[in-house]
């Protein structure tokens, strides 16, 4: 008996030793800096949700870590006319419930997007250009748009496909902008409890305990290259110090957004490593370029005309707005020592900016260098503009939104003061900052912009296009800069399907915006991730933290 037992144990041991390492259950635990608000891929169009969506619900088009487009559920696509596109879909793809992926699922997903109740930010910006779908066969989809939409493939990289069969729809789907005649779509709660969380992605939904953990399992039937992780646990640890402690204590293998002051220590620690990559997020200063007077400016004298329109100066006396003069804007740009900010405040974890997107992205001008630091030239320009003694300014900034945001603002205030523009900083928490900014109470403010599409039309359209409901420009242009020539260029680019032509127009538009000092770019953020030695992370320009990008180096 005893001998038999021993023999069994020995053979079990031999069997275990003979097994390749890959069959051991591998688990990755990640400490995240924010938590998605829902598992529902169409509920909330915001960073944490969009990053999570990519694990479970794939889109037709992929955006790689540099935001270049590539095939995913679609193997190829091409415009067949000004307003028609043909997408060839991948064959042999199965949803997590085993049903096959076809063109109908794409149409069904597009139908659901406007029909998510109480969505705090929906995905219609990516589907509203679609006027109709034609399903040629199961794996060929023709898309019609109401206007020429060159960014359609990029838009198709931004929303995930859900299964129509799992949603209970098996008949024909006739696309319209309302609900395609479908009465009931799965609701967000069913995604959170996993019932409706059925996509085609490399990971399957396992468990979501709000505030504590989100567990994903590997999708064994994945069509593409399988991930090496059998199971991924994402823990929301929003406090940066606690997140670092969890990494040091070995509770998690990987953390997003380690604090910049800890990076050096982590890099010199033999047990840990840091992954870094240039992001698409530019930190900028926006200046009030709307009315004859501006809130928060002192020492410029009385305005030439009465202030009309929305803003605090409509109901109180404000002094003259100096930012309408391009020389003043240029002077402020020259006053900023961007290299010093990058090396001293950002600890080298940033790159000085000369445009709204880093070099190499679509639509940037090669060699667009950051404005050189020139305080003497700045003083001269101020004197020419009629302010030899400068003026007083309040610089608004959030203090918990971007990396070192309030510190950067303080340094800039000192640099402005050096050329005679006495600047004080008004730093506040992000919720209060955005409210104050959106009421136009700042005459100058610091903020950041990440280009979701990874090309130039995106920041130009949102930040320097004239605010207008009709054109869709200027959504975040709270400096209210307006230049009709620039608007025309942006709108032309947005409707030019030919890539080469569009790139030329965007380059010209970007140069125009920079030459006019419409907005002052400061630096591009470099994003960091920290992990145990033996792992590596493919740093992403969109700052997303994806389990699919983590791999072991052994």
């Amino acid at each position: 008996m005893g001998i038999r037992k021993l023999g069994l144990a020995a053979s079990a041991l031999a069997f275990a030793l003979a097994l390749p390492a890959a069959t051991q259950a591998s688990k990755l635990t990640m400490g995240m800096d924010s938590e998605p608000s829902s598992i529902d891929p169409h509920y909330h169009n915001l960073g944490p949700n969009n990053a999570l969506r990519r694990h479970m619900f794939e889109s037709l088009v992929d955006q790689d870590e540099k935001q270049n487009l590539g095939p995913l559920l679609a193997v190829s696509w091409k415009p067949t006319g000004e307003t028609t596109w043909e997408f060839k879909l991948r064959e042999g793809v199965k949803f997590h419930d085993g049903s096959a992926f076809t063109a109908r699922d794409v149409v069904y997903s597009a139908c659901r997007i406007p029909n998510v109740p109480n969505s705090p930010s929906n995905f219609t910006s990516f589907t509203k250009a679609i006027s109709g779908f034609e399903i040629s066969n199961d794996h060929t989809l023709i898309v019609h748009t109401s206007v020429p939409t060159p960014l359609l493939p990029t838009y198709f990289a931004n929303w995930g496909v859900i299964s129509s069969a799992a949603g209970g729809v098996t008949g024909e789907i006739k696309y319209d902008k309302e609900n395609c005649g479908i009465a009931n779509f799965p609701n967000s709660v069913d995604f959170n409890n996993g019932k409706a969380a059925i996509g085609t992605g490399p990971f399957k939904f396992k468990e979501f305990v709000k505030g504590d953990r989100l567990v994903l399992d590997q999708n064994a039937g994945y069509w593409g290259e399988k991930t090496e992780w059998d199971s991924v646990v994402m823990k929301p640890i929003t406090n940066a110090a606690a997140r670092m402690a969890a990494l040091l204590a070995g509770d998690v293998d990987f953390v997003a957004a380690p604090p910049t002051q800890d990076l050096e220590r982590l890099q010199s620690n033999p047990k840990f490593d840091v992954a870094q990559g240039l992001s698409n997020r530019v930190i900028y200063l926006h200046m009030d370029q709307f009315g004859p007077s501006s809130n928060g400016v002192k020492g410029t004298g009385s305005p030439a005309a009465k202030y009309e329109g929305e803003g605090p100066c409509a109901s109180k006396e404000c002094e003259k707005n100096p930012f309408l003069d391009k020389r003043v804007r240029q002077a402020l740009s020259k006053a900023i020592n961007r290299e010093a900010i990058v090396s001293k405040i950002m600890g080298g974890v940033a790159v000085a900016a000369g445009e709204l997107l880093p070099q190499g992205f679509f639509g940037t001008n090669p060699g667009a260098t950051p404005e050189a630091y020139d305080p003497e030239g700045a003083k001269k320009l101020l004197a020419e503009a009629g302010y030899p003694n400068g003026f007083e300014l309040v610089l608004g900034t959030p203090n918990d939104r971007y990396i070192n945001d309030a510190k950067v603002a303080q340094v800039i205030a000192q640099m402005f003061t050096r050329i005679g523009v006495k600047t004080s900083v008004n730093a506040m928490t992000k919720s209060v900052f955005f409210k104050t900014r959106n009421k136009y109470e700042f005459s100058i403010y610091l903020a950041g912009w990440g280009a979701g599409t990874g090309e130039m039309s995106n920041p130009l359209r949102a930040l320097v296009g004239t605010r207008s409901k009709e054109t869709g420009l200027g959504g975040t242009n709270r400096g209210r800069y307006s230049n009709l020539d620039l608007d025309k260029k942006i709108l032309t680019a947005l409707s030019t399907v030919d890539d080469a032509k569009r790139e030329l127009i965007l380059k010209a538009a970007s140069k125009m915006a920079m030459d006019d000092y419409s907005i002052l770019p400061l630096h591009y953020e470099v994003t960091s991730w920290a992990h145990k030695k033996g792992l590596s992370y493919k740093a992403r320009a969109d700052q997303y933290t994806l389990a699919t990008g983590v791999s072991s180096t052994k």
Binding site: N118, S121, T124, S125, K210, G211, D212, T238, A245, L248
Partner: protein, 324 residues
Amino acid sequence: MLAFTIRRLSQSVVVLFVMSVIVFAGVFAIGNPVDILINPEADIAEQEETMRRLGLDKPIWVQYGAFMSNALQGDLGNSFVHNVPALEIIATRLPATLELAFLAVGFAIILGVPLGMVAGLKEDSWIGKTIMTGSILGFSLPTFWVGLIFIMLFSVSLGWLPASGRGETVDVLGVPVSFLTWDGLSHLLLPALNLALFKISLVIRLARSGTKEVLLQDYIKFARAKGLSNYRIIGVHVLKNILIPVITVLGLELGNVIAFAVVTETVFAWPGIGKLLIDSIANLDRPVVVAYLLMTVTMFILINFVVDILYSILDPRVRLGGAN
């Protein structure tokens, strides 16, 4: 007793109403949730559409009216962020906090009362002085810092206990609890101790001053004269008489621990309601903040009520108002 209860209840309704107005207006004044929740890339038309969808385009009194009429039917609204009923979110997060709070108060009683009594009995000895000095540390060290030091010491350096999260849970009557598994317990220990530190010091001080006072009373002298054992005098006569202030304070502190364990829960990434509150304030998730604070007020009212009743049981001289 009945008159007392009715008067208390009608006062509570007024308090709840005033509270809802203050919180509603307060969160409204901070900012617009859509500014934070919406994707910055949304254009002006989409921003306005989202405001309409969430009902935030209406004037505040209209929004408050809608909230009130729903609240009277028991519906405190859906979270802007999570799109589930605010009360449901709070209910799913509450067990984690309750577990933490009860353990912390348990620590406070088990450690605080005996230590305080020892400090009161042996006031001038080194042991009494050490306890009192220790309690000063417990009072004055900030919870946030102590939490991080605990993590650095017990998790990072020694590697005994995990640094964050809740660990494995077991469902008891449908409520997930973590104190029944070793993994859950190991996650619970550090945050509970962190939360308890201040309460322990508080109880030590209360128990010490109570003990000193009671020892001088005639009935203690009488008990000694009667020849009762020292053990019985301290264990029954002294202990029972120092408990009234301890219960009053711990009752209120329990409310505090449940409602505002924000710092500890943040440091240890504990998925309780304190962390929920801080996240909801950051996101201006008004339905959750309002529901949370209304629940807190209700809880404090209840705790005060229970404490009043406990008084009358512990001290027969106390008569509840209205019973004359």
